[in-house]
């Protein structure tokens, strides 16, 4: 009996497999396919879901606007749960679908590492807007990575600039104590080299305290902070680590005005549950910040959400993480549009052609304004060597119910970052025995 029921269930499963397998997607290949690696479940879902909603909503908006020079966008989500192996599986699943993937945007450092190895082989660009490996900004070595709008090193640098601004100049930093409280993963560690360099430049005392994933246990870290009494704490958390840190700060009696986050610790899910308890906490976010009143948000609300096509909750539209999804999608779409200018308007672009587009992005302010990003983004210009296209950020402060961005922009110090990026990329190239791209190779 036992065996029979098992045999039955296996037979059912096998039959399911047999009917299910030969079902390829028979859609016309005249659409530009955007795969979406998302994490709507798991420990980091509160941060992943708004990003994914923004990403998909913008793609829907582009279709509602008439596509990219008439080319409609198709998209498919694949759930990674923020796990590297599932991300790799999603990548393999989607890369050849519907005429081939245009770009991949994993929103996960671990998956980015894995895709950095795979994308050059498959000739598909990987956009990591605001995260990923910092040295991948060097397009001469990382030919297929595009950390457009900034890397983590830029975030760290701008945090120091913001502190200097509050203190009234870099010379005032001398003798100050700055503590980094970081998520103990490659992402969190990205902050360290820049802060070390800045500490040597300005003579502040730098101290780094790791917090083990997922970051709900921080008592000992805050005990160290209480003993050490730093002037500022830079919060580099992700997911549940951020609200925990802010609660611990409150419990320790450390003023949250002196806790400074950056974009992965400056989203709505990080503070929403705390409400007024997080009031006054500020974060230096790489562009974009929260933008509830921007034109693109209004357009998404009127052209996508009003038609019942919205991907996520309406309240999330315009939030910081949502806007990151929107901007990430926009960069991919504009890469396609730029590529079409060279390879033929109204055609579906391959990954390789899109790479050219991303390497030659020229989004000046009128172009951005026309897309609805006035006040959200600053101009982005990339090149074969510079895959970052400038890193700008703003401070946003939590007022108890929403993030309020300030008007002043910070720019990551190129004098500091460029040599570091170059050095890191050279080391990567040396380890991997790959050669820098020659200027001729940049042309095609």
């Amino acid at each position: 009996m036992k065996f029979r029921s098992l045999a039955l269930s296996t037979a059912v499963l096998a039959a399911g497999l047999a009917t299910a397998l030969p079902a390829p997607d028979a859609r016309a290949a005249a659409e530009q396919f955007f795969p979406a690696l998302v994490f709507r479940t798991g420990a980091y879902a509160p941060n992943g879901a708004p990003w994914a909603d923004g990403y998909i909503d913008y793609l829907k908006l582009v279709n509602a606007r008439g596509g990219i020079n008439g080319v409609k966008i198709s998209f498919e989500e694949c759930e990674t749960g923020y796990a590297t192996d599932r991300g790799v599986e999603c990548y393999e699943r989607l890369k050849g679908k519907n005429g081939g993937a245009t770009v991949f945007q994993p929103l996960s450092t671990g998956i980015t590492f894995a895709l950095t190895e795979k994308a050059p082989v498959d000739r598909i660009p990987v956009i990591t807007a605001g995260y990923g490996l910092s040295e991948s900004a060097d397009g001469g070595v990382f030919g297929w990575n595009f950390p457009i709008t900034g890397v983590h090193w830029a975030s760290a640098d701008m945090q120091v600039q913001y502190i200097a601004q509050r203190e009234g100049g870099f010379d005032r930093l001398k003798g100050k104590k700055i503590t980094l409280l970081y998520h103990d993963s490659p992402y969190g560690k990205e902050a360290i080299p820049v802060l070390e360099a800045r500490a040597a430049m300005h003579g502040f005392q730098f101290n780094a305290i790791p917090v083990t994933h997922p970051g709900v246990e921080q008592k000992s870290a805050w005990l160290q902070i209480r003993q050490n009494r730093p002037d500022y704490v830079l919060l580099w958390g992700w997911g549940v680590m951020n609200p925990t840190a802010l609660k611990e700060a409150q419990a320790t009696g450390f003023s949250r005005e002196k806790v400074i986050g950056h974009w992965p610790s400056g989203g709505e899910p990080d503070v929403a549950d705390l409400g007024n308890a997080a009031k006054g906490y500020s974060a230096v976010v790489l562009q974009p910040a929260a933008a509830h009143d921007s034109q693109v948000v209004e357009e998404i609300l009127s052209k996508v959400h009003a038609k019942g096509q919205g991907t996520g909750p309406k309240e999330a539209v315009g939030q910081m993480l949502y806007m990151r999804g929107v901007v990430s999608a926009m960069i991919g779409v504009e890469g396609v549009r730029r590529a079409q200018e060279r390879f033929g308007k109204g055609k579906v672009m391959t990954g390789e052609q899109v790479r050219w587009g991303l390497e030659n992005l020229a989004l000046d302010q009128p172009a951005l304004d026309a897309l609805g990003f006035a006040g959200v983004l600053r101009p982005i210009h990339t090149s074969c060597v510079d895959h970052m296209g400038g890193a700008w950020g703003r401070v946003q402060t939590w007022d108890g119910s929403r993030w309020v961005p300030s008007g002043t922009w910070f720019q990551a110090d190129e004098q500091l970052l460029k040599p570091m990026i170059r050095k890191g990329a050279d080391k990567y190239a040396e380890n991997r025995k790959i050669e820098r791209r020659s200027p001729q190779a940049c042309q095609d």
Partner: protein
């Protein structure tokens, strides 16, 4: 009917002692190998190779290694992820630091380093057993997590702690295509599976099993527990280390310590328990169940054309997966491998069961 050994007489010791005493089994395994080594590489798609077959093979290898320790020697270990990490990072260090160090040797050296640590962390097993040992082996896991995040030399001073393997070459042949990667993994799995099968059939395997079943009795009949337990730790962590090196080099290509976290250890332990403790087949069944089934479940609604949201599909996947684990453990607590052998037993008696 077909599966019956009537008329197959063993006339000498050699034929009595072969790995697969029944002719039908030999034919089935030979066919399986031909399919795996010839037909699959010719027909499978890139997705099947990179996303399903390679992870399946590498994790079966790791489960095979863990099964030696847990299934055969009865020492519960929660440090498998650590030994995989040690294998991967050791292989990385040999491969990058020594110019021209061959890939095969790097992978095996990864295994060798994992062996050293396996024996080291196996020492507590001489004094403590059962759940207490499981907790003690957690130390290995935390040690590895700490070491690869903190000791910068181990990751070649990479600022973020992530490393990458670079181009793979075997005897001058580049390993680029997914099919080649698959074949490399397959070769490792086949060699280690035969090796383990022979080990557990031999004197040392019997010592492990004696220790597992009752260590006091085993000591009384002259089995040295130190030797038996530590050798099980050594063999197990060697195989797990090689699997870790393959996971890093062949599957991921570039990895961070989180790839070998505590979740990986638990996942492997589940594979061994669900697949079947003390069975070579069990490692493969368990790996298939844990690796392939969730991927299958996540795509199933889309194949049927059900318009499910990503979230709903992900939750459904977790729910069905959980139900299946409970179902199989209730139907057969000894794992899928036992179901398999029960099935074979029934076939031998069919159509006249008694």
């Amino acid at each position: 009917m077909i599966y019956r050994e009537n008329g197959q007489f063993k006339t000498n010791y050699l034929s009595d002692q072969q790995i697969l005493p029944i002719r039908q089994d030999r034919i089935a395994i030979a066919l399986l190998l031909i399919v795996a080594a010839v037909i699959v590489p010719l027909t499978a798609t890139e997705y099947l190779f990179s996303a399903i077959l390679v992870p399946f093979l590498v994790l079966s290898l790791a489960a095979l290694g863990l099964n030696v320790l847990v299934g055969y020697c009865g020492q519960i270990s929660l440090g498998t992820g650590a030994f995989m990490a040690i294998g991967a990072y050791a292989a990385f260090n040999f491969h990058t630091r020594i110019d021209g160090f061959p890939l095969l040797l790097s992978l095996l050296m990864g295994g060798a380093c994992a062996t050293v640590f396996g024996v080291l962390f196996g020492i507590p097993s001489l004094r403590i057993r059962g759940l207490y040992l499981a907790v003690a082996t957690l130390a290995a896991q935390f040690f590895a997590d700490w070491a690869f995040l903190r000791i910068r030399w181990l990751t070649n001073h990479s600022s973020s702690g992530s490393v990458s393997a670079g181009r793979l070459e075997l005897f001058g042949l580049p390993i680029d295509t997914p099919a080649q990667r698959y074949l490399l993994c397959l070769a490792f799995v086949v060699v280690f599976a035969v090796l383990v099968k022979n080990l557990v059939r031999g004197a040392i395997g019997r010592e492990w099993m004696a220790i597992r079943d009752m260590d006091v009795a085993a000591t009384v009949i002259g089995i040295r527990p130190t030797y038996a337990k530590l050798s099980a730790f050594a063999v197990s962590s060697f195989i797990v280390g090689v699997a870790g090196a393959l996971w890093g080099f062949v599957h991921l290509g570039s990895w961070e310590p989180a790839a070998f976290g505590i979740e990986r250890s638990l996942q492997l332990l589940f594979m061994v328990i669900i697949g079947g403790l003390g069975s070579i087949m069990g490692a493969f069944f368990g790996a298939a169940f844990i690796v392939i089934l969730p991927i299958f479940l996540s795509q199933f609604p889309a194949w049927l054309g059900l318009p499910l949201s990503t979230t709903a599909a992900a939750h459904l996947e977790a729910m069905i997966f959980g139900v299946l684990i409970v179902f199989f453990l209730i139907v057969e607590p000894h794992g899928l491998a036992r179901l398999w052998s029960t099935g074979k037993e029934k076939l031998r008696l069919w159509p006249f069961p008694h």
